[in-house]
Symmetry: C2
Amino acid sequence: MKKLINAAETVLEDALAGVAAAHPELAVDVANRVITRAVRPTAPKVALVSGGGSGHEPLHGGYVGPGMLDAACPGEVFTSPVPDQMLAAAKAVDTGAGVVFVVKNYTGDVMNFELAAELAAEEGVEVRTVLVNDDVAVEDSTWTAGRRGTGATVLVEKIAGALAERGAPLDEVAALGERVNAASRSFAIALTAATVPAAGKPGFELADDEIEVGVGIHGEPGRRRERLRPARELVAEVVETVLTDHHLTAGDEVIALVNGLGATPLMELYIVFGEVAARLAGHGITVARSLVGNYVTSLDMAGFSLTLAKADGQLLELWDAPVDTPALKRA
Amino acid sequence: MKKLINAAETVLEDALAGVAAAHPELAVDVANRVITRAVRPTAPKVALVSGGGSGHEPLHGGYVGPGMLDAACPGEVFTSPVPDQMLAAAKAVDTGAGVVFVVKNYTGDVMNFELAAELAAEEGVEVRTVLVNDDVAVEDSTWTAGRRGTGATVLVEKIAGALAERGAPLDEVAALGERVNAASRSFAIALTAATVPAAGKPGFELADDEIEVGVGIHGEPGRRRERLRPARELVAEVVETVLTDHHLTAGDEVIALVNGLGATPLMELYIVFGEVAARLAGHGITVARSLVGNYVTSLDMAGFSLTLAKADGQLLELWDAPVDTPALKRA
């Protein structure tokens, strides 16, 4: 295992120390493992809180800031944060307008956020939960009942975050988050496996010419293994898989995210994006907005995921709204 | 070789097609291999043009936009662009106020940009060249006479770009670019080698526990190979090496860039940054501004580079100025 770490046991606290040093615009509570905005909103607003295992950076701490999240709760690598973290985060950022939990659909995360919502309610914090389950690869997986939550998380956090920033009420923000999730579908391909520091070796083995089609962001198995093919062929399969599930048709507009899983050069992500745009154009579908880069990673996994969200006027307008976070900025 | 490409021969044109599709705010001339801003400045201003081999994305195309570059010329992977590209770029963006070429110190790049400057002068475009040579690892290297140009390129392009955007004259913009380069020092460590698509195999071999100390962004040899050590120890050596060369002392402020070489998880870069900040604090040196992420990459190389620029009021004020490019944004 080759990693830039001090020790497997201190990966999370050392990374949080770095986030704190790099981002004076964030407040990092290392003891409670909660990241919030250094400057709190002055007027009451619905607060967005997310969290999940570490190893998916910039998710979620990189999306804390005006226009997006109010707080993030990082767990240990590929491990759900605990309810106490989520409760501490909810209490820290609630302005009286309530809190929306954005939760990726993994069994541990779902259970812990549910418990945290109950604890928060007991302390007078009203909570709604938006479950993200956009990955069309498999119905159930290693750590999941139902579909896994992946790239759509960024879209939910950005778009619902923009609405919350404008002062919309709790139920409206939560409903919009659910609408963004329902409008989104994702699919991923891995070229290599990620290595969790505490495990010390890759989570699975792939031959030199082999890929995992439909992989999860913790290395969960996908649909099958096959030979690596040219990017154009891989993208064709990924796009068709997403479109089939999504029922998108000619004339539709999408927000497209081509996401690197951590170890894929940006040059290759642009090659993939070019093929995605061309393939969608062939279907008469327009890419109205896009992101290309590392947004929901899986440590040092090579590969990519595609997320397509069916766009409409409201989603695009909120997508374009100002945001100022470490990983996503727009004036 | 596991890469998301169509064919080694079409990597650059396929990546440019992706850049064009993803960034309507850029104009991509695929035939001439020149990336410019889609919306040109309305008032005359000094134009900044950079370029170099591909495989270092987001360098340079990702830094084209208001507040930074006017044009970028991407060469084939790890190969200098040709004078015709640079000339086409200079002519496309010159408003009559002249052009600054930002050139990383590699023999091919230096020769080709020199020739382009002569050709441009013959066509009435006044050119100044800022040479970037911030890498303290080695004096001469595989492709270089003198020191290699690496992470400081981002700082030169950002800070000189901000001054150009304000309407400063040609000699002043070029002088500031040289001042930023002179204020900057870098040093890099590789955990793995990059694979150039046309070569099909890694540029060098490292054992499972081995690192290259002082590596270049094309995999050029550094100072030595040694065993991988904890991040804190590696950072201590890198910081001390840079400080010794830089003559920084207690009370100094720096702009610090902790840069991933392409395949290093962001979580690890934050761990490295935390150690850098702590080590500098031990010397009484303050990190006034920072960047943590993939800014000057080397395809799929794992590792990091550290760039420290001695800051002052003017540099910080221009660093903070608005910028709107694919890879660097600030309101």
